[in-house]
């Protein structure tokens, strides 16, 4: 079980890292296609609030999992 927890630690970290360029690129693409106020507000909320929370928590959680911090939890 510990090995699986550690292995998934890599997955969570990569997901956390991967989400940053993915969201920014999508935002740029959609705003460039339609630079409306609605688009700006939506992507601002996603980039300023949601993305940092997801990225930070997944990366930190993944690193902890990889280091075996959760191995003692049964």
């Amino acid at each position: 079980m510990s090995a699986i927890k550690k292995l998934f630690g890599i997955v969570w970290s990569l997901m956390g890292i991967g989400i940053i360029p993915l969201v920014i690129m999508q935002a740029m693409k959609e705003i460039a296609a339609k630079p409306s106020e609605e688009n700006w507000i939506f992507w601002s909320i996603v980039i300023v609030v949601l993305m940092p929370i997801i990225a930070f928590s997944l990366i930190t959680f993944g690193v902890f999992a990889l280091k075996g911090e959760y191995d003692t939890i049964e």
Partner: protein, 525 residues
């Protein structure tokens, strides 16, 4: 004799716990009611305070809806959580109640945009932020307070009463609004009647403050304070120390994020889907949700109590998994049941009524089309065209594409489909009770008493406020992305479910791998 003394002592303990639960739950229920009436009346509030022709006011409207929902709630969790761990649970969640009640009452008193101009949206925006701040501090305090009064082995059961309050608060908000709207009539309600639910809050909060004033401080906190074990810096201890931070992350990613999206999908998105994708009439759609909530609410207690016996983890995870698997079929059935393309129209009963009236400088043409279907469904479409009498202005608006008519579609379902809809929403409410019923006990048990209020409040409000609170915004956006052109129906009306399904799936995997099913005895460390 000894047995009699034990029995008396046990009876007193249960009675005391019941008083604690009642006093805490009533206050938390009122806070949720206060918070939800703003969201439920968002359209009227927008018309009163945030006119669309003023871009700054429109921006404030969006921010008031979302900022208080997610940005401010975690701040409230940090601010009041810290206070609760420093000075005590009782006084902290008494303060949050007063702030919430005061700001809700004040919203009911603020003059509209037409009377005081830009001050109106600015004041409402600030009051809405105060509401979010207070809510951020309330829940963690109430859950911690109840859990610390509850006997070990029964925390799931006792804290589940606090868990019912969010749903009951929504139910109360919908109920009060519907009753006042039906009593006063739609026009009077839109004019000034909408203020009554806000003003009513003062009375509810007054009663609740009176009850809470009489309550005693949490026994665990009192013991800890006597022993000098309270934390000097709860924020640093909660989020800078690795041992606690790793539990905060588990709570967020493995539990509250998934719980948040399931909660918002089963209640708010279901209502929005009924009204916008299925075009179910306002009162009927609200009744569907209200009845499902009422029937489903006891299950919070069922699953809370069950979690004391079999552990919290598997109930919460089962709720997430079943939700992930069944959301698409459930929403597909809801859509199909209301879809007029699947029904046979009784053409001879179709009526079209057209009225023209001059209002100010405009000619207003209203066309009402009523259709009846073989299964008993009735449909009403109101098309309103506002055309300026001035030809130059008319040409200008036409060139800018601003002469589009406003169309309101209302489907009234027959009894059998109405009941089926209640059943389909009820299934989703049961998922909500599975993930939400045991979560307060789970959260309070994974953090130490000295920093419990702070540590549990933040993941709860990020999970619910950010991940859950964004369900309507992101899901609507995903559906809109499938719309081939403005005015045409979306190609995939279920596309909005992708967000809650994705978040709940990740949460399920993390929860299954990393969360323990063992319960903690919560001694004062």
């Amino acid at each position: 004799m000894a047995r009699n003394v034990t029995n008396v002592s046990q009876t007193e303990e249960v009675s005391s716990t019941r008083r604690v639960i009642a006093a805490s739950s009533v206050g938390t229920l009122i806070e949720w009611y206060d918070f939800y009436i703003f969201g439920t009346l968002a359209k009227i509030i927008s018309e009163q305070f945030f006119p669309k022709d003023n871009p700054t006011a429109a921006l404030l409207a969006t921010l008031a809806t979302f900022a208080a929902g997610f940005v401010i709630r975690p701040f409230g969790a940090l601010f009041f959580g810290r206070l609760g761990d420093l000075i005590g649970r009782k006084y902290t969640f008494l303060v949050t109640l007063v702030i919430m009640g005061g700001s809700t009452f004040a919203i009911g008193l603020v003059p509209g945009y037409k009377t005081i101009g830009f001050f109106a949206p600015a004041i409402v925006f600030i009051l809405r932020l105060l509401q979010g701040l207070a809510l951020g501090g309330e829940y963690g305090g109430a859950a911690t307070y109840v859990a610390e009064h509850s006997p070990a082995g029964q925390r799931g059961f006792w804290t589940s009463f606090i868990q019912t309050t969010a749903t009951l608060g929504l139910f109360l908000a919908l109920g009060v609004i519907l009753i006042i709207r039906q009593t006063l009539g739609v026009e009077t309600f839109s004019d000034w009647g909408w203020r009554i639910p806000f003003l009513l809050s003062a009375l509810l909060v007054g009663v609740s403050v009176f009850i809470r004033m009489k309550m005693s401080e949490s026994p665990m906190f009192v013991k800890m304070k006597k022993e000098g074990k309270t934390s000097a810096n709860p924020l640093a201890e909660s989020f800078k120390q690795k041992d606690n931070l790793k539990m905060v992350l588990i709570a967020l990613l493995g539990a509250t994020a998934g719980q948040g999206v399931v909660w918002y999908t089963g209640q708010f998105y279901a209502l929005s889907f009924l009204q916008n994708a299925c075009n179910v009439e306002f009162v009927q759609s609200n009744m569907i949700i209200s009845i499902a909530l009422l029937i489903g609410t006891p299950f919070f207690i069922v699953f809370g109590a069950l979690s004391d016996k079999i552990g919290r983890k598997y109930i919460m995870m089962a709720g997430m998994l079943i939700a992930v698997i069944s959301y698409k079929p459930i929403y597909q059935m809801m859509y199909d049941e209301a879809n007029l393309k699947n029904k046979t129209e009784i053409v001879e009963k179709t009526t079209v009524e057209k009225k023209e009236a001059v209002k100010g400088t405009d000619n207003v043409i209203t066309t009402v089309t009523k259709k009846t279907f073989a299964d008993g469904t009735s449909y009403k479409e109101t098309k309103k065209e506002t055309i300026p009498l001035d030809e130059a202005k008319k040409a200008e608006l036409a060139a800018a594409g601003k002469l589009k008519p406003e169309t309101k579609k209302e489907t009234t379902l027959p009894q059998d489909i109405y009941i089926k809809m209640i059943g389909l929403v009820l299934i989703q409410v049961i998922f909500v009770t599975m993930v939400y019923g045991p979560i307060a006990a789970f959260l309070v048990e994974i953090f130490p008493t000295r920093i419990r209020y702070t540590s549990m409040s933040l993941p709860y409000h990020i999970g619910n406020g950010v991940f859950g609170g964004l369900v309507p915004l992101i899901s609507t956006r995903l559906v809109e992305a499938t719309r081939p052109a403005p005015g045409l129906p979306p190609a995939d009306p279920l596309a909005g479910l992708m967000y809650p399904i994705l978040i709940a799936s990740v949460s399920f995997v993390i929860g299954m791998l990393y969360i323990s099913n063992k319960t903690n005895n919560m001694d004062v460390e």
